[in-house]
């Protein structure tokens, strides 16, 4: 076989190789060691220890839908556990029409932590909101005007933990997990304007946007994709979905690098052959 053929391998060959290779770690986990990135460490430190006072209210924003569960949900799970264990109260809300599914999944992945908490006193699910940056700005000045009731139709004023929560000044911190840029909206309207503590746990693709904001101090921490989720799972000491997925990430990334090298060997061979 001529090396030049490596430049034009049928894509279906790659699909099959990838499909089979991804099966291996699920059937027999490999368990490569995972080191903690400084941005993930900062995120974890920001929701544990002295950084969180008992009884203070945090917001967890679901800026992702079911399709991004694999990337975002492990981080949100760990952050929710950490906040609950520090005694914080949490307001859950989101900007995806399927956020109820995400909220239900969170209750499943944090089952033991939710079991010790009382709805309305320790946490509340305000539900779905629309309106882009405008709605985030409006939340900052009057939360009740955006959510006059929670997802289950309970009036805002009847929810005990929200009695003293009016606006941005009553919120200790925000965790936004996004496929889009709601973290950026919170940064502009909350963090920059009022100094609210803010962190992001978005999909891997958002890392290039989020990391400069972490370096600049706008985000106190950032979790990047499922790798960030795996790092957080290690930090809290409870391995889960993201850690399992890391083996698949390793296999797929390694295969991708090999495929790129093969393609380039093929192109180079074709070029050299053409010159002769």
């Amino acid at each position: 076989m001529s090396l030049g053929k490596l430049a034009n391998i049928d894509r279906r060959v790659f699909y099959w190789i990838l499909f089979i290779a991804l099966m291996v770690p699920f059937l027999s986990p490999i368990g490569f060691p995972i080191t903690i990135s400084p941005n993930t460490q900062d995120l974890y430190d920001g929701v544990t220890g002295d950084q969180v006072a008992e009884g203070e209210v945090w917001i967890v924003n679901f800026g992702y839908g079911v399709s991004a569960w694999s990337d975002c949900h492990p981080s949100v799970t760990v952050l929710t556990k950490a906040l609950f264990r520090e005694g914080a109260k949490i307001i859950f809300m989101g900007v995806h029409y399927d956020i109820e599914l995400t909220y239900n999944k969170l209750q499943d992945t944090c089952r033991a932590d939710f079991a010790n908490k009382v709805y309305g006193e320790d946490y509340v699910f305000l539900g779905y909101m629309t309106g882009g940056e405008s709605v985030i700005a409006q939340l900052g000045s009057n939360i009740k005007s955006v959510f006059p009731q929670d997802h289950f139709q309970t009036p805002y004023d009847d929810i005990p933990m929200l009695r003293n929560v009016v606006d941005v000044h009553d919120i200790a911190g925000v965790i936004s997990s996004d496929t889009g840029d709601y973290g950026g909206h919170f940064m502009t309207q909350w963090q920059a304007a009022y100094g609210t503590k803010l962190a992001e746990a978005g999909i891997a693709m958002n890392g290039s946007t989020d990391l400069p904001r972490w370096q600049a101090g706008n985000f106190f921490g950032v979790s990047v994709g499922s790798r960030g989720g795996a790092e957080l799972e290690i930090l809290i000491g409870e391995l889960g979905e993201a850690t399992t997925a890391m083996d698949s990430i390793s296999v797929s990334h390694l295969l991708l690098v090999i495929a790129i090298i093969l393609g380039n060997i093929g192109t180079l061979t074709e070029k050299l052959g053409g010159k002769k």
Binding site: A7, I9, R11, F14, Y15, L18, F19, F32, P33, I34, T35, G65, V66, S67, A68, W69, S70, D71, D98, L101, M129, T130, G131, G132, S134, V135, A137, Q138, S141, S145, V146, H151, F152, Q153, A193, A204, S208, T209, L211, P212, Q215, A216, G225, R227, M246, I249, S250, V251, S252, H253, L254, L255, L256, V257, A259, I260, L262, G263, N264, T267
Partner: protein, 216 residues
Amino acid sequence: MSNILKKEAVYAVTGLVTVLMLVEYFFFENTQIWAETIRTWAVIIFNISLGLGAARLLIQHSMRVQKQGRDWQFSGVLLGIFALMILTGFAGYIATGVQTSNSIYNWLFNYIYTPLSATLYPITGFYIFSAAYRAFRARNLDAALMLIAGCFVMLKNAPVGEAIWIGFATIGNWFQFTGQIPGMRTFAIVGALGLIAYGFRALLGKERGFYAGGGE
């Protein structure tokens, strides 16, 4: 009259809203009540646009079914599922105030929407794999540099990279934190300055696209 509504009225409303938002954000918090009212309108308009989008979707696909053009059956399926979700959601909402209290609605969401949606994102991995193989070719120096940086960052993100050689993480981190972040910061700052310039141009009526869809 229509010209006034198209131009002058839009100038006036845009100018008023901009000034109010700027004043509230930077100078006087006591103008908050006015700004809050306008933001509530913005949220309402945003919600109306969602309804408008749904209505437009229905009209478009109804027309395709009526004309029985290419792949009209898919439009028929969309309309059927749309009606089913609306009806079952409303049934649950009317009964208990929560749309997910309807078991059919829940079943559709949990056993059809969730697996399909969860599959959609990972399946792009296969396309990315094939696309990267075909596109990442070192045809010139620039492409070669991007290729090398990309491979290091990939191997830095995957734990296997560090397992093979610790240097992948070190070099990958250098590309990400020293190479990429300053570029992104520059991009963000330039973008923000551009946005301010665009805002001023829109306020001064120099951005025709903003007011009249690009035409006179």
